[in-house]
């Protein structure tokens, strides 16, 4: 055992790398990830594929000369040398040039075209037309062989066989596909006349789907007077044609579903309508009966018997009013009488007698004695008190 310091080992590896012919001058291809740019302006990123990854750095001096900075997901080719950064012990590729791969080029073209057409207004939402609810003639632009047309016809046949389908067969990949797709769209739109056009193909790589990213196809869709629905590739595939079309479907089958109603649903709605017709008519009869009953009720309130009953009631009410009035008067009189009687009783001489006063009369002439001048000693008197009279003789008087 002869331990060496780490720094020594690391320096050894670095030297090995830097003196290797291949590693000191090479091109590497891969996908960009973990891209970042330091405040000093140096670029750091990782190049990867399914089997490995390599850290890369590009100094500011070189990076400033790039037309376009790399982005995560870009497929690129870099040139440089591989060495080891002693500070971290990490193997790194020191990059002095970056080129896009064929795929990377296509990606860039896609972005550029998309931006340009968007700016021209080809993707404008306000321009999009609605799909017809019950299309009679359906135009389809796709390959006459392959899964797409089979799936489309299967869906249309199941859901809405009332429609007529007109296929404008075209190649859907390769260099000569785009002009033929554009021509097919125009032929259906101007020459044949259909209610809706379905443009699409099955899944594939970016290169396979490329015709649907071409400007010619985009402009043909944009110029089309008939509404266009796109169904290209799989769920995650978005092509320029998808952005220009009036409606985008994720697949050709989905597009077929979106352009026609379902026969079974229509049958159900028809049956529902028939039921509603029956109920509405039955409802009419019920309402008519009620109206008649209501009118009968109103009539009943105006028969002679009814009128007499009303009059009778009025008379009754009047009689009751009269009786009540009479009773009130009687009560009032009664009270007045009572009051007068009371006053009379208070003024009556009998009351005075009951309090103990007497009425005195001379026996001989019956004069009522009010003064002592009227009597002398020995005179006979009659004394009346409350309950009777008794005799009396004057004894003496005094003033």
């Amino acid at each position: 055992m002869d331990p060496r310091p780490v720094g020594v080992v690391v320096r050894y590896i670095k030297t090995l790398l830097e003196t290797d012919d291949l590693l000191s001058d090479l091109w590497v291809e891969g996908e960009v990830s973990n891209y970042s740019r330091s405040s000093a302006g140096h670029l750091y990123f990782t190049l990867k594929d399914t089997e490995g990854q390599l850290r890369c750095v590009m100094w500011r001096g070189r990076a400033e000369r790039l037309e376009r900075l790399p982005q995560d997901g870009d497929q690129i080719i870099v040139h440089g040398y591989v060495s080891l950064y002693e500070g971290s012990g990490a193997v790194q590729c020191y990059v002095d040039a970056i080129r896009p791969t064929g795929l990377g080029l296509l990606q860039q073209q896609f972005e550029t075209l998309k931006a340009r057409l968007a700016a021209e207004g080809l993707f404008d939402a306000r321009r999009k037309r609605p799909l017809p609810a019950f299309p009679r003639r359906i135009g389809v632009v796709t390959s006459p062989t392959g899964a797409a047309i089979r799936d489309i016809l299967h869906v249309l046949g199941r859901r809405y066989p009332l429609a007529e389908v007109i296929l404008a067969p075209t190649p859907v990949q390769g260099d000569d596909a785009a002009p033929q797709i554009a021509a097919a769209i125009m032929a259906l739109d101007e020459y044949v006349g259909v209610d809706v056009i379905l443009v699409g193909r099955g899944g594939g790589s970016l290169e396979d789907l490329w015709p649907f990213n071409e400007e010619r196809v985009a402009r043909a869709i944009f110029a089309c007077q008939t509404p266009v629905i796109s169904g290209v590739g799989h769920e995650t595939d978005f092509t320029i044609a998808d952005f220009v079309a009036d409606v985008r479907a994720p697949t050709p089958s989905a597009a077929a579903e979106m352009i026609v109603p379902d026969r079974a649903e229509l049958s159900a709605r028809i049956a529902q309508s028939q039921a509603r017709l029956g109920r509405a008519l039955a409802g009419w009869v019920t309402r008519a009966r009620e109206r008649t009953r209501h009118q009968q009720g109103r009539l009943a309130r105006h028969t002679p018997a009814h009128l007499i009953a009303q009059r009778r009631q009025a008379v009754d009410e009047q009689a009751q009013l009269a009786v009540r009035s009479l009773r009130r008067d009687l009560a009032l009189h009664g009270e007045r009488l009572g009051g007068l009687r009371g006053r009379l009783l208070a003024l009556s001489p009998l009351a005075t007698l009951e309090r103990g006063y007497a009425v005195v009369q001379r026996l001989d002439d019956g004069q009522i004695v009010q003064s002592i001048q009227q009597v002398g000693p020995g005179d006979g008197l009659a004394v009346r008190v409350a309950d009777g009279v008794f005799g009396a003789r004057v004894v003496e008087g005094e003033t």
Binding site: F134, L167, S273, A280
Partner: protein
């Protein structure tokens, strides 16, 4: 327009309109019965169209004069 000429779309739309008018009310007995009968007739036309339908498919073929339609598959 006879029943044979009327399109499915037209028959279907008119059927739903007839239902709405009948449900709205304010009609005489004669009018109600007439609407009911027309609605049922339209429903029959719709169902007949749906039941008898078979998907017709043709393809565009370029020829020197322009395009023609030929049956497909």
């Amino acid at each position: 327009m006879t029943d044979e000429q009327i399109s499915f779309e037209e028959a279907f739309t008119r059927l739903e309109e007839t239902v709405r008018r009948l449900e709205a009310g304010n009609l005489s007995l004669e009018e109600s019965i007439a609407l009911f009968e027309e609605g049922m007739r339209l429903a029959q036309v719709c169902n007949a169209r749906l039941d008898e339908a078979e998907l017709r498919v043709s393809q565009l073929v370029a020829d020197p004069a322009g395009y023609t339609l030929e049956p497909f598959k």
